[in-house]
């Protein structure tokens, strides 16, 4: 009997629990409004339906006393009211909303993540792109799309399945067989995830048993992994295969003494002795080494390390450089050494929007570990710039566990669907083929050099 089960993330609406600032402030000049109404009463006489017709189709002025008590929570910023009656009403961007997030996780990105977390849906809007032309980091990169002659089609709207499954762990360069056709040596030792998104540890200031319990439950439902510091993981009521204990060198002995054999263990920083002890003590576990994204990998990969978690700060930088450059560097380094196919790269830091996931994978990652977007999805508030895990100041509201789990499921479902959109546009049938597919990426600097070369004043 077939055990095939199509991967599906259970989404359902999970409305915001904490107050969230409206996008716009609606300022009504009551005197002018009264004058307008008086004028209309005289002009339209007894046609109350005409007089009562408001310049808003979203209900901002549809309360019991209309524009005298507007309802800014309904305002979508269409500006029809202020175009029609400039003296009566003004719509302003809400300054309180501009305080959300920080310089990396901008208010617009916060709003987008909150929408995704509350609905599980792909954000859809009209009227084209509204932002800067290009920029730094992820904004300096466009993904390709297929036009007419590439074979894969329809994945997102029907006929063909697009796989988001990834394999994490160690993969031998080739399989070898004995005379009787039986495989020799150690085969691939991998953990397969249905979605290339892991849940990374939270900043120290917000770590709690409750938060990690939410992460763990979400990871289990998503069929993915949650990276949780050992000190927190060991106190949990239940630790299943979804939990990846994050251990420092000094905690290795403690982990080994627990008699727990997780599928994956993450070693925080490189320590050869600790790595050896983990490999020996937990022979069935995959050992992942957590390193700064700007650290070279070739030597460690040659020593046999096959699984890395590359970490940038929450703004996507390590050693002063952005993940876009660092990931390509790490990827190429392993390609040049002939080791890339045998090694798994997971990355985190600065991946704060759905589009950053395919871009990070194109730059060389196998999978992405989510950090700050998880907190934003739970309506956490940033207090100042949130850059480093040990110094970040973040406030997480009191969590209802079921609600919080649902918010994370919704977020991941939305991001996965958006990944499918990108894969569908590119004509790729599986996310594994996106990894390091730099020929299908377009970098602003290169495009600009080609397009604008020779134009006076242009310097590449």
């Amino acid at each position: 009997m077939s055990t095939y089960r199509r991967y599906r993330i259970p989404t359902e609406p999970a409305a915001h629990r904490a107050p969230h600032p409206n996008r716009f402030c609606v300022e009504v000049n009551r005197l002018e409004l009264a004058k307008l109404l008086l004028h209309e009463l005289l002009h339209y006489r007894r046609r109350l339906s005409v007089i009562a017709s408001r310049p808003c189709v979203y209900g901002v002025f549809s309360g019991p006393i209309g524009g005298f008590a507007p309802r800014p929570e309904h305002c979508v910023g269409c500006l029809r009211c202020t175009v029609e009656y400039p003296e009566v009403v003004q719509i302003r961007p809400n300054p309180e909303r501009m305080q959300l997030g920080d310089s990396c996780f901008t208010p617009d990105l916060v709003d987008t993540v909150l929408y995704e977390a509350s609905t599980g849906r792909v954000p859809v809007r009209g009227a084209g792109y509204r932002g800067p032309f290009g920029g730094e980091g992820w904004d300096a990169l466009w993904t390709d799309m297929s036009e007419i002659v590439r074979p894969t089609r329809d994945g997102i709207h029907g006929r063909e399945h697009i796989s988001t499954e990834v394999d994490l762990g160690a993969k031998p360069r080739m399989l070898t067989f004995d005379d009787r056709g039986a495989p020799l040596g150690r085969g691939p030792t991998v953990v397969s995830l249905a979605v290339p998104l892991l849940l990374d540890r939270a900043p120290q200031v917000v770590e709690s048993r409750g938060l990690y319990e939410v992460y763990r439950r979400a990871a289990r439902t998503l069929d993915t992994l949650a990276v949780i510091p050992l000190s927190r993981a060991k106190g949990m009521q239940e630790v299943g295969p979804e939990v990846v204990p994050l251990v420092t060198s000094s905690e290795v002995d403690e982990l080994l003494s627990l008699g727990w054999a997780p599928r994956v263990v993450e070693l925080d920083g490189w320590d050869g002795a600790a790595y050896g002890a983990l490999s020996q003590g937990l022979p069935r576990s995959l050992i992942c080494v957590r390193l700064p994204m700007n650290q070279e990998l070739r030597a460690l990969a040659r020593e046999g390390v096959r699984f890395f978690h590359l970490v940038a700060d929450y703004h996507g930088r390590a050693g002063g450089r952005h993940a876009v450059d660092l990931l390509r560097e790490r990827h190429h380094e392993l390609v040049a050494a002939g080791l890339r196919e045998q090694v798994t790269l997971v990355g985190s830091g600065g991946i704060v929007a759905a589009e950053h996931v395919p871009k990070a994978i194109i730059c060389g990652l196998d999978a992405v570990a989510l950090d700050t977007p998880l907190l934003i999805a739970l309506q956490a508030r940033f207090l100042g710039e949130v850059r480093e895990p040990d110094s970040a100041r973040v406030e997480v509201p009191e969590l209802d566990q079921d609600w919080a789990v649902q918010r994370l499921l919704n977020l991941v479902a939305s991001w996965r669907d958006q990944l499918l959109e990108i894969l569908g546009a590119m004509g790729l049938r599986e996310v594994r083929r996106l990894r390091g597919e730099l020929g299908r990426a377009m970098f602003q600097a290169e495009l600009e050099r080609e397009a604008l070369a020779g134009i006076a004043g242009f310097r590449s």
């Binding site: 029609e84 009656y85 400039p86 009209g126 792109y129 466009w142 007419i148 002659v149 299908r440």
Partner: protein, 444 residues
Amino acid sequence: MDMDAQTLIARKHSQALHQGFRRWPRMGHAPPALGDRRWTADLILSTWLQAEGGAPEEFGLEYRVGASGGGFDRLAFRSLPREARLPADAAIDTAIVLNRRPYDGRVEIPVPWYGSGMSYGSVSEQVMLARAMAAKSWDTFTCTGEGGYPDSLFPYRDHVITQIATGLFGVREEIIQWAPIVEFKYAQGAKPGLGGHLLGDKATMAVARMRGSVPWVSLFSPFPFHSVYSVEDHRKHLDWIKTVNPEALLSVKVSTPVDIDMVAVGSYYAGAHILQIDGSYGGTGAAPEIAKKNIAMPVEYAIPRVHRYLLEERIRDEIVIVASGGIRTAHDVAKAIALGADGCALGTTELVALGCTRCSNCERGRGCPFGLTTTDPELSLLTDPEWGAERISNLYASMRDQLVEILRRLGLSSVGELRGRTDLLQYVSDESVGDGEVGYDVEG
């Protein structure tokens, strides 16, 4: 509600809106929440001003560039010194031909642009009609988009491009036979590689009837054509149209992938007269946010790539390149041509002329609160087709005047001479703006 009341309500709000479109550009300040990096408040207000019949430079609005920090917003023209410019009364030709093949009919339009495809369903019939009336008065074209051909467009059929896209929504034999140009849409810049998507709320009874679909059910135009896997298949499509309407010119609308140059060559050999390259920063319809900035390249990069490659292949003068997807102003049109296009197609610009504030709520509920991107029977009454046609015509007139002025300053007597002249462009860097070295009209 009785019809009189409905008419009165529509009149009340459309009068107030018209007054607002007239007043806001003249108020000395913009609505605080208006505009974005690509379409700044100044660009929107100056477009309203031009649609009203005003000169764009009035009231100190920046009408030439947005604030996106790249692409067209980084380019200026290297005008000649004053004494070397063409005289103010010099005859300057802004016409372009849309067929450069040695066969098929000659089609010329007096301005180097026409209206881009916006379907019935994504916009109201009134908006389609306004665009068609303006196209007729300027002897240029508008395009149906993929959603059928309302009967009201029939009197304007000599100026209407019939679009055939992957869902074949609303395609009938006669609308191919009526069309002077038939456009195959392979992809669109708003959502490259994703096909079309009309949300269920906008698939009204009338829209569904026109498209031959089920009301209130979302409609996807799959991506790409199921019957096209090669340039040869593409050729078969174009041959099919030629069989139905031998007189029609053939246009192929594509997005901007890495290999846009190869796509262009393929379209040429398949028999296209026009290649419309639709950059990823435009688009009027609802699209997943992830598609807007992240898939396919901006048109500013695609134009020179295609132009140069076709030159190298020695086929550049046999195919017309029309750029779209992010063309906002007359200056953008001129820059696109200087980068290598023959002309442009306008979509959002026309909607802004009709009062669009680019609030991005096109897909929400009943659709556009200004009655543009909606088929809601009440909201769509806010746009009177004749009023709309006049506004688009006024905008065209202003854009043409600006184009003539740009050409005059460059010493060019026809827009055709501007094509591919990147030597007439100046890159405006942060430093040069900061130093006050160059502005957006540089004396070279």
